[in-house]
């Protein structure tokens, strides 16, 4: 039942996994539970990309303070992704533009892509999982 046991089954295959985040944090649990999948996938030494588009870009905002709604603040986890060798973070340009945001508003360094660049990135993935 432990994920550690499973990782030892590693077949040496490395696939391109894209995790597409389209939802705002806190209103639903998808952002939080999605992060858990991303971390495990990285632990399996797969090629992981995280993409933030539509309301998903809100997950990365600085200055989140969840005390008033009495839930965990998981936004620090995005800053720790580096330590799990998850370095490919992409943000959709049109999504941040439409929300009046800039890269400076985000808690981590990201690569900003146009929709067509994002589309090409998606097309070359082996597995796309959306939360």
């Amino acid at each position: 039942m432990s994920d550690m046991d499973e990782m030892e089954d590693g077949s040496g295959i490395v696939k391109k996994f894209m995790f597409l985040n389209r939802k705002a944090p806190h209103g639903t649990v998808y952002a939080l539970e999605g992060l858990e999948v991303v971390l495990i996938t990285a632990a399996f030494d797969q090629d992981v990309s995280m993409v933030f588009t539509d309301d998903g870009v809100y997950q990365l905002l600085k200055g989140i303070d969840t005390k008033g709604i009495e839930v965990k603040d998981f936004s620090k986890t995005y800053r720790a992704l580096d330590g799990y060798d998850i370095e490919k973070l992409y943000v959709d340009q049109s999504s941040i533009d439409a929300r009046g945001l800039t890269e400076d508003d985000l808690i981590v360094d990201v690569t900003v892509l146009s929709v067509s660049e994002m589309a090409n990135l998606m097309a070359e993935q082996d597995v796309v999982i959306s939360f």
């Binding site: 996938t41 797969q46 999982i129």
Partner: protein, 119 residues
Amino acid sequence: MQFGILVNEGPYSHQASDSAYLFARTALEKGYKVPRIFFYHDGVYNASRLATPPQDDRNVGARWSKLAADYGVDLVVCVAAAQRRGITDGVLGDNFRISGLGQLVEMGIQYDRLVTFGD
């Protein structure tokens, strides 16, 4: 060809669970392999054997159990999502088991396709 299926929503509330079942059953009937179906988020509620829907309605949990019995599908419920939501070994339907998210990642690595059903 091997299909993995990820189910992210619970029974009745969202059609995602019905769509996933019909997709899986059809794929198996057509001769494709569906070695494992993974239940995440509210999808873990599919595994409860305590549900007693009205007689004239489908029994989602029982239907999954039967599919697993008929075709040897591994029905895996995410342990972390299940603990948050009160799905324990004591309430699991036949042929469901609780395990880690690694089982989902393995599906992505080893199978030819991964299809997600959710909200």
